[in-house]
Symmetry: C3
Subunit: 385 residues, 3 copies
């Protein structure tokens, strides 16, 4: 990291402080008990962001320290940046307090997803830059889809409570855009190695994501619908986990632990858009389909596509977050009664396009700051590694 | 896994979907805030099931991927199956929403306990089958003991808030029944190896169980008694942990990390029946006794019994869940005022008998589906292991 | 551990049981829902104590089983002991129920901090003795600073909601006092080794502390101020994490994963005193400064001081808890409006002096019980290690 970059980072931090000083507290004293319950869910989401996403990415054997440090940095960039921009009013009205925090965490989730696509091929400072580029694009998309921003879609018409489209598909397609601009021949030929230890850490991340996914989906749901949402998400995750095991056995000769760690979560991704409208029956169907689709992605599409475009999606985010997210967004057409299907489908197409495009442009910007010498290894940037 | 098995599994999933479509929401809008608090505890219990039980079983060095995958599958079978059967009304009235979810998690806990007894000696598909066999037996026992099912015990007369008997002793004795039908000579002679990494993962599982045990016991306790229950459980766990260390030092020349990881939790197992009636004094006594009893089981009874019956209880579930659970159920006679001792003791004897018997029969059924070639190794069923 | 020690331990446990029998429930039925919310935060704090502090200390490669066992024992000694002494009324009025539990957890946090300074150089039984010595000193300090004990400071005049001084600085300086009495020449020359596995476990502990720190600071805050407190703590942690990365890069040629795992948490330590009074602007400034200060401590002060005094602070608690804690206590002078600065500064000086002195005396007492033969290795006390 050059000294000039430090100047840039410190200037940005200074701007942050100034912006923050404007973000005064507009505490909502009407429902303090319910706000504290939101705080609980905010911490559950934080567990998903750090231990969940972080350790899921530790499957890369020699890149564990880097993956965890990158997770810390991505979260620590995304959350204050979101709160700053949110308080600036640039993307619609200011959401104060814990609601703003949860929305910021959602942005951090999207950022971690797109970073998963290029994991191991960015310098640590470039992850920070990626965060600075991603968050405004994410907020623009969120504003347009969920709050009627720019008047493109009528407010409240788009169903995406748990973020199948706004968080998961957006993050994955941003990541796809990113990788179109990178992956050298040498990186393409470097195997991404795992071992028994990194696999177990990865399963830890996966389980933490699974456990707290109901809080993620229910984070901002009105109190009376929280229990229903929680049960739906659990059922969808159970369905995806069973489908993952069966599909992994069928499509490969043996079980792939990477399928189990990743595709089991596809139920949570896919139930997002409909988590507060589904019933147990539709939840299990969505979960089962998402598990099958995700394993099919990992086992069949990934190797075919990577050869075709000669690019690497390190964590396979297209198959855990991309396809199941799109499936979840489309499922809303069948599950949510009274939904305007035109708005739902227009929104999906818009989000996909914006994500891919902004990801591509961000990748070009990141390129200007150079590349790692060795991919997927801690030793280049860490002491004693 | 044969193709015929897939047919069976998919048929069962279809049946599940049909049953689920009946499980409509009977949301309780009277106490939404309290229901959300139950949701929080439901997620804490989920953390115990997946990270807690899952990683506790990772102590088997070469079987970590399998233990974690089995945990995922057992939970994903038990919860939807319980919710289906619950909504069918087969075992008493339908408990909707988050209460039903928590009861389903309790069943999953019992299932994970009995699976711990045969860990490493079942094929992955047999864990799923085990789940299908265990849950109906569990529900029958739960119904008879706690809801006056079949009129055998008068409703409400059996004290077991945190499941010392219904969950822990039942699961352990079901596991004892299971192992009576298996363990080949070769398996008996195969050492169950651990190493520094698997020990640390196991301690992670143990700590997660310890941390959230108060939520497990208080999951369905009325709001006004939750704080008391939480403090009692913490005190019992502290007592068991101290007693475990001392007893481990006394009975062995050095400390056994397996004792620490397991017997420290015996306080939580034993306080279950009385967690909402005890006071700090009785809680610490129950905890101390449970720790001593559990270490005595692991250090003395286990090796003696295993030689005697030539069977292996992989995780020692009899000594963590079995004996301390029975102790907890009996302790209710002394701690809970106004308890009908005849009902309490009859219930315990009934649960023990039903568990052992149904475990034995389930083991015979599992036998029909063959056996693993190599015990305690991932490589037989996993890619790249 | 000699037989005589067992006698002592069992006698103490007996005394505990007698004291406990007095600790009857004075349940507060006025706000049961809010009490249950406190229970949630109490469990979050427990996750920090066991998985957080425990795994953060697993960075010592060959001492993982011991560090985790010590964590279990320290927590299991501190919590019942605090509850006993609390119910005895020796240090001010009795705080019943979940409030008493949370205060006991705070004491356990302080104890874990001071134990971090001597980690790897005490026998397991000496950790228990350390707990018995620490808790009364901690309670004396807490009583004087926060409840006007002995009439030294006027009650309510000292700002320290999240324990920057009472927990973090007190624990760290008690630890500094401890190490003044120990570290043999051989121990001083023994390197404290880490590897890729122990580093990843350490990051797990760090992340769990980070995630639940908002609950730690907000544990006893009135319900209406909890959301604000939570957001402030998250912002401070983000600031510290970013500052840690940048400072680690600047002061060392490469990133140190130990800096990331530790100094990222300094924001939580430093925001403690002011967490319920700060705004986002002051929170990020406190976080940034704490991160810089902590890394400076680890990278510059630690090696200089260790050489100078020929003592080892195993976990560097002075640089994670000591300096950032003092900074946080002093920051209250600038952030909390209407604070009596004389009381705040007198309290800090008093806490520092009492901590160092009582730590030194405790170290002399611990010396009487001998020393380990080999530092930083499980094998001396554990089977199969």
């Amino acid at each position: 990291m050059k000294k000039s970059s430090f100047g840039v980072v410190f200037s940005l931090l200074l701007v942050a402080v100034v912006l923050f000083s404007k973000a005064c507290w507009a505490a909502d004293f009407l429902n303090p008990v319910e706000d504290v319950q939101k705080c609980d869910r905010a911490l559950h989401v934080m567990a998903m962001l750090l231990v969940g996403f972080g350790f899921l990415m530790v499957f890369v054997k020699k890149y564990g320290r880097s993956a965890l440090t990158a997770t810390f940095l991505l979260v620590s960039v995304a959350i204050p940046l979101y709160i700053c921009l949110n308080s600036s009013g640039l993307f619609g009205g200011f959401k104060p307090g814990v609601e703003g925090l949860i929305l910021a965490e959602f942005a951090a989730a999207g950022l971690l997803i797109c970073a998963g696509a290029v994991l191991g091929r960015l310098k640590m400072s470039q992850y920070i830059l990626l965060g600075l580029l991603f968050v405004p694009c994410y907020m623009l998309n969120e504003w347009i889809l969920l709050s009627g921003g720019l008047g493109l879609l009528s407010k409240g018409g788009f169903a995406d409570t748990g973020g199948s489209i706004v968080i998961h598909a957006f993050g994955a397609l941003f990541g796809l855009g990113l990788i179109m601009t990178m992956t050298t021949q040498k990186e393409f030929e470097t195997p991404i190695e795992t071992d028994a230890v990194s696999d177990r850490f990865s399963m830890l991340g996966s389980m933490v994501l699974w456990i707290f996914w109901p809080s993620f989906c229910a984070a901002l749901v009105p109190v009376a619908r929280v229990p229903q949402t929680v049960v739906n998400v659990v059922i969808a995750l159970c369905g995806a986990t069973l489908a993952t095991y069966i599909t992994s056995c069928v499509l490969r000769r043996k079980i792939s632990i990477a399928d189990i760690a990743n595709a089991s979560l596809a139920g949570g991704v896919a139930i997002g858009s409909t988590c507060d409208h589904a019933n147990p029956g539709s939840s299990i169907i969505i979960g089962l389909c998402a598990g099958v689709l995700s394993v099919f992605g990992f086992a069949v599409i990934q190797s075919w596509l990577q050869k075709k475009i000669a690019k690497v999606d390190t964590c396979g985010v297209m198959y855990l977050h991309g396809l199941p997210g799109l499936m979840g967004g489309i499922a809303a057409v069948f599950v949510v009664s009274g939904l305007n299907n035109r708005i739902q489908l227009t929104g999906i197409v818009f989000a996909v396009s914006l994500a891919f495009l902004s990801g591509y442009v961000s990748g070009r910007v990141l390129e200007l700051f150079g590349r790692r010498v060795t991919a997927y290894e801690d030793a280049e940037e860490f002491l004693d590694a």
